[in-house]
């Protein structure tokens, strides 16, 4: 007969740790609010509320004059181009870094694994916008800095995901090739990568969806695209123009989500 599992002496004992964690979190929240000089009065005051209301009203009546749209189209094209090229570059460099970062079989010593993982982690932990601000010094204002910023951050993200996909690829075909004395390069090209490819493509498309959102705001620090236009018009309190830039952003995000979904369907068929 099975022994009945022992019950905790009282309910507090079993949950003491959880309670301690919750208490610590609550304390963190309280201390956070207390240490920030939050200006609730300024935000909740009649004046600020009135201004917010007016902003929103103006945002909802976007400027759709042909003269402004002529400025909007190039910025949209720039944003799309930044996201596509940034993502593709990241896919290429991410794969190049993922190969040393992955340990594919038991005899693989993976000498470069720690170094490659460290590089990927650093690339990943710095957000796109920070990369863009850093790159402005080297590449100057404009979409090129934004493209490179997207590429750097996304290389870190995709590299890690790719390395995992490569490590998780079924080992059989690679083992069969290695048994016949075929070199690592060709094992990678004909056994490992073809099996991991669908996953790599799917990750890349997912990051593209992410990057169109990032590309749209990168311009705020001067890295080109819609963000630059938005920061300019918002700075001048031209809310109608800002509204149409926001509309264009939402349109692009929606369009890229659709395109990515369509490509996925096409590839999995």
């Amino acid at each position: 007969m099975n022994e009945a599992p022992a019950l905790p002496a009282n309910w507090l004992q079993g949950r003491r740790r959880a309670l301690a964690v919750v208490a610590a979190l609550l304390a963190l929240v309280v201390v956070s609010f207390a240490s920030l000089d939050m200006q609730w009065s300024r935000f909740l005051g009649a004046q600020a509320m009135g201004r917010m209301g007016r902003f929103l009203g103006e945002l909802l009546s976007p400027d759709l004059s042909p003269r402004f749209l002529a400025k909007l189209w190039p910025a949209m094209a720039e944003t799309v181009a930044m996201s596509v090229i940034g993502t593709l570059l990241a896919a290429v460099f991410g794969l190049l870094l993922a190969i040393p970062a992955a340990r594919t079989h038991d005899a693989d010593r993976a000498r470069w694994k720690p170094a490659a993982r460290l590089l990927l982690n650093v690339l990943r932990s710095v957000p796109e916008l920070m990369w863009a601000a850093l790159l402005l010094i080297a590449a100057g204002l404009g979409p090129f800095a934004g493209t490179m910023a997207l590429a750097l951050h996304t290389t870190g993200v995709l590299g890690r995901l790719f390395a995992e996909a490569i490590e998780n690829a079924p080992p059989g075909p690679g083992f069969a090739l290695r048994l016949r004395g075929i070199g690592e390069g060709r094992v990678l090209a004909y056994a490992v990568l073809p099996q991991a490819l669908p996953q790599l493509v799917s990750y890349t498309l997912y990051r593209w969806e992410n990057n169109i959102r990032a590309a749209a705001v990168l311009g705020v620090v001067g890295a080109g695209g819609l963000g630059q236009l938005l920061a300019f018009h918002l700075g001048l309190f031209q809310m109608a123009e800002t509204g149409s830039v926001l509309g264009a952003m939402l349109l692009l995000v929606f369009g890229v989500d659709l395109a990515s979904h369509g490509l996925r369907q096409l590839l999995t068929r």
Binding site: F43, I85, L88, V126, A133, L230
Partner: protein, 276 residues
């Protein structure tokens, strides 16, 4: 068999591969032009010189006590903005999630949901979409204009965007699990809140906390970024240091930021294991 040397060893699909490569290049070319993709610009003598001068300043990083105490204060501010923003996000997200959850609908216990609750749920979902589809950076830009520079704009921006995200995901988690217990409670006359606290919350607790902790980690990263538009914290210091071309300060701030990200990653993993 392909034992004869020569032609047979060639990749049988090389024609289609080449065609695809050329087609890709043709499509990419205009994009490269639009994005002003000119990597050689990086190596133009004058831009290379300023880059190298900036990078040379990185070493040694600025580590004197005065600067380090400033960095410590700003790091705490970044964490505090993220935590306060996340709290606001929870305050906004939870009620909306409860309002939008289909599994808490009483009228749908028998047949279809009644038209009024269905409309309310649709409206709440639309509000959630609107909140989260505008990036937090843009909310921050708007709030900086309304309440002025400082952490308030950052907290509000994170609160609104994350409120939208949390509301949506919480609602989905509540609806996607096994709703049998909740439905049974509702059928037997319990209120919606009772059904939530005694049916859905215990069932989905680990998934909900794990997602919340993950979002807190994201909030710390975005709180640092919001500093670039004037919401305070590490980002603002980094922005200032970059504008002054002060490589030593930028280096310290970058190191501290990467450490902060690694640390939150660890803490969040630990919390998820403990609470899960």
């Amino acid at each position: 068999m392909a034992n004869t040397p020569g032609a047979d060893l060639r990749d049988p699909a090389w024609r289609s591969r080449l065609a695809w490569a050329i087609a890709t290049l043709v499509v990419l070319w205009p994009l490269l032009v639009v994005a002003e993709f000119q990597p050689w610009q990086l190596f133009a003598p004058d831009s290379l010189q300023s880059t190298l001068r900036f990078l040379a300043g990185f070493f040694p990083p600025r580590l004197d006590a005065e600067f380090l105490s400033l960095v410590a204060r700003e790091t705490w501010r970044t964490v505090a903005i993220a935590t306060a923003g996340m709290t606001l996000g929870l305050v906004i997200g939870w009620p909306l999630a409860l309002l939008s959850a289909r599994s808490l609908s009483i009228s749908s216990l028998v047949g279809r949901m009644a038209p009024l609750p269905a409309t309310v749920r649709l409206a709440v979902r639309a509000l959630l979409v609107a909140l989260r589809s505008i990036p937090e950076l843009i909310w921050a830009l708007v709030f900086v204009r309304v309440v002025g520079l400082g952490p308030t704009a950052g907290v509000l921006a994170i609160g609104l965007t994350y409120g939208g995200m949390l509301g949506k995901v919480y609602g989905e988690i509540l609806d996607s699990g096994d709703t049998g217990v909740t439905r049974a409670l509702l059928r037997n006359g319990s209120g919606r809140l009772q059904a939530f606290f005694f049916g859905q919350l215990p069932q989905n607790a680990s998934e909900l906390t794990s997602y919340t902790v993950y979002r807190w980690e994201c909030a710390i990263r975005s709180s640092a970024v919001l500093g670039f538009v004037g919401a305070g914290g590490l980002g603002q210091q980094m922005d200032n240091a970059m504008k002054m071309f002060n490589g030593a300060e930028v280096c310290t701030l970058l190191l501290v930021f990467v450490l902060l990200v690694v640390l939150t990653d660890r803490v969040s993993g630990l919390l998820r294991r403990m609470l899960g």
